[in-house]
């Protein structure tokens, strides 16, 4: 009876919440108050797939859902990115019968890496994807090893781990475990022999702390590594990115399936590869997945194309307090051979909590912009001085840089007859302040 009532109330609150445009956390929060172990009382589908990691969770989950739905599977997933236990509870209860049976073939959960241990106390994933562990939101997360320890608590026996082999800290979750599937990239034409990053989170072995040796870097500390001290090494992958043609915008998986990319970043490619891996494990064939992912444009608002007067541009939503997210966006802009202008906005560091901390700017490799493809750099927002100081520690000529405290004034300045393509790199917390000045392409 308690279970029935809890589900009913959660469904009602969800229905009402949708009418007035509220988020999806509240109904689950109420349900957990009424019945704290409600999640373990539900009848769950055969596949419970969890996705976590610092970056790319939402995109990966969206792509997995897209592929599985295209192939006739019924998927219940938290598409609004409410990824703590309350949001997951809403997802499960709202998508079930009043008797507690989840009406889906697959329950697909994006999980916040810090709170996974609470969520998965009640729901044990059958498959658990960990995409990466980066420096991310130090204001909440501490540091990658701290998050590693929190995630380790959420992994239970009987779950198949699906790990990014190229991220040493993530891959180390698989040490001493059976039932692990690794995905990753072979040597790529875009690889480098030396690290291209401001800092090196792969310098020391995550297991024994001896220096690690890299034979290839895909980006930042993501690559092919080994530790000669304890024998930790980059695992062979079951699902593999075998080539990436940046100019043509094509990736190939397992030497067979070529996917044309809507967004030419390695970052995006890892998300696609993770989605490919999950869909394959669930039983969709590779050719089918490749067809579903061809020219796939994410619907989650991470990438937005726009016009500003006569100029065209793309907003690459990146995460403040997350240097690798920024590095990836900067790589996309830097590769623009036709020449482009790049804008950065830091106005509110976070939309969810207050902080004035800008340390993370010093972990971003802005030096990559010191190349002829980049014509003008526009810095804007409340923290424009901090951006200006950060750029003063690069070799980028000062004459290329324009400063605006007001985002409005920066947008007005950009609305000129310059021909350069425009990349705008900023966070969810600040993107709306610029988007009101442009016409978004649908």
């Amino acid at each position: 009876m308690k279970k029935f009532l809890t589900i009913l109330i959660c469904k009602l609150l969800r229905f009402l919440g949708k009418l007035i445009g509220k988020g999806s956390s509240k109904p689950g929060q109420v349900a957990l108050k009424l019945c704290p172990d409600i999640l373990s009382r539900m009848q769950l589908p055969q596949y419970i797939i969890a996705v976590t990691g610092s970056n790319g969770k939402t995109s990966t989950v969206e792509m997995i859902a897209h592929i599985l739905q295209k192939n006739g599977k019924k998927v219940a997933w938290n598409r609004e990115g409410s990824n703590q236990i309350e949001g997951v509870t809403t997802l499960v209860l709202a998508g079930s019968t009043l008797g507690g049976k989840v009406k889906a073939d697959i329950l697909l959960i994006e999980s916040d890496e810090r709170f996974a241990r609470y969520t998965f106390k009640y729901i044990k994933p059958t498959h658990y994807v960990i995409t990466n562990l980066y420096r991310d939101q130090l204001t909440r997360n501490g540091h990658p090893e701290w998050v590693y320890d929190a995630l380790a608590d959420s992994i239970t026996d009987g779950t198949q781990l699906i790990l990014n082999a190229d991220d040493p800290l993530v891959s180390s979750f698989g040490e001493g475990r059976d039932n692990v599937v690794w995905f990753g990239a072979n040597r790529l034409s875009t690889d480098t022999d030396t690290l291209e990053s401001v800092y090196n989170d792969g310098a020391y072995c995550p297991i024994c702390k001896a220096p690690m040796i890299y034979s290839a870097y895909h980006y930042n500390h993501i690559g092919h590594y080994r530790c000669d001290n304890c024998g930790f090494y980059r695992r062979n992958t079951k699902y593999t990115l075998t080539s990436f043609d940046m100019d043509r915008g094509e990736m190939t998986i397992d030497n067979r399936h070529t996917i044309h990319l809507a967004l030419k970043s390695l970052y995006n490619i890892y998300n696609i590869l993770a989605a490919y891996t999950v869909a394959s494990i669930v039983g969709v064939n590779g050719a089918e997945i490749a067809a579903d992912m061809n020219d796939y444009v994410l619907k989650n608002g991470r990438v937005i194309t726009f016009t500003l007067g006569s100029r065209k541009g793309t907003m690459l939503t990146s995460k403040h307090e997350n240097s690798i997210s920024y590095d990836q966006s900067i790589r996309v802009a830097s590769a623009c051979k036709e020449g482009c202008d790049v804008m950065f906005i830091v106005d509110a560091v976070s939309r969810k909590y207050f902080t004035s901390d800008v340390s993370w700017l010093y972990d971003i490799d802005f030096e990559m912009l010191n190349n002829p493809n980049i014509h003008e750099i526009i810095l804007a927002g409340k923290y424009v001085n901090d951006l200006a100081v950060r750029f003063s520690y690069t070799d980028i000529p000062n004459s290329k840089i324009k400063l605006f405290e007001s985002i409005d004034e920066a947008a007005d300045y950009l609305n000129s007859d310059r021909k350069e393509y425009l990349y705008v790199i900023t966070c969810f917390s600040d993107k709306g302040k610029f988007l009101v000045k442009v016409k978004e392409e649908q």
Binding site: L138, E145, S356, W360, Y362
Partner: protein, 237 residues
């Protein structure tokens, strides 16, 4: 002038390295020739050779690992502090200078014993906070960010009093530690860039004269905005 950035590749969370970049710049702007040595675990540094020594923050596991190596410098480091050498330790690096560190599993590591304090780590709650801190040797407060999981008890000579943020331990209004020209704070990241007045204060101790500081325009403007935002925040709470 010679700068030593010790454990640069393992004690370097969230842009700590920029403290060295800032010190190099202010000294160069003041007419000095500056060399920076970045050394780490495999190296042996002659501490006495340097005018300024810096160590940044690390993960707890990295710091414990570094501590074992750092012990080889115990006598030399103490001699440097006694001689009044200018040294800056940020984040959890100065925890190595106390009597003991107890980790979340209860393992106890001996520190260098330069200070009498003891450190206790836990692995349940990450303590993070924007910070505003005052001290008697600067006319303006410091701004910054603290990101830790430890309590430090028994600091007899703290560096700052906390206006906003976290003290050395729960309920403590003091933060950091000082001994002669050794400055220790749990603030993380580019403390010397966020606080141009702290940078020039340390540079003056190094140079024995006031450093060139007219160039710090954006640094000063950025500092004022951050201080304004933090004060607004602490008043609304």
């Amino acid at each position: 002038m010679k700068i030593l950035h010790l454990y640069h590749d393992i004690m370097n969370l969230y842009g700590d390295y920029a403290n060295v970049s800032a010190m190099k710049r202010v000294l160069e702007k003041s007419g000095e020739e500056v060399t920076v040595d970045k050394l780490s675990l495999a190296d042996t540094a002659v501490l006495a050779d340097y005018d300024f020594i810096y160590i940044g923050s690390g993960t707890e596991r990295n710091m414990h690992y570094v501590l074992e190596d750092f012990k080889k410098y115990a006598d030399d480091f103490k001699a440097c502090v006694d001689s009044g050498k200018v040294i800056l330790l940020t984040g959890n690096s100065f925890e190595m200078l106390g009597k003991t560190i107890t980790d979340a599993q209860g393992n106890v590591y001996d520190g260098l014993g330069l200070f009498d304090f003891t450190v206790t780590e836990q692995n349940k709650t990450r303590m993070t906070a924007d910070a505003v801190e005052a001290c008697d040797f600067l006319t303006r407060p410091l701004v910054g960010f603290i990101n830790k999981c430890s309590e430090i008890k028994g600091v007899k000579n703290p560096l700052f009093t906390v206006t906003m943020g976290l003290g050395n331990h729960d309920g403590d209004k003091n933060e950091g530690a000082r001994l002669n020209n050794l400055f220790c704070t749990h603030l993380t990241g580019p403390v010397l860039i966020k606080n141009p007045h702290f940078l020039t204060c340390l540079a003056e101790k190094l140079l024995g004269r006031a450093p060139e500081s007219d160039w710090l325009t954006h640094e000063r403007a950025g500092y004022e905005i951050t201080l304004r935002e933090l004060r607004k925040r602490s008043q609304s709470h």
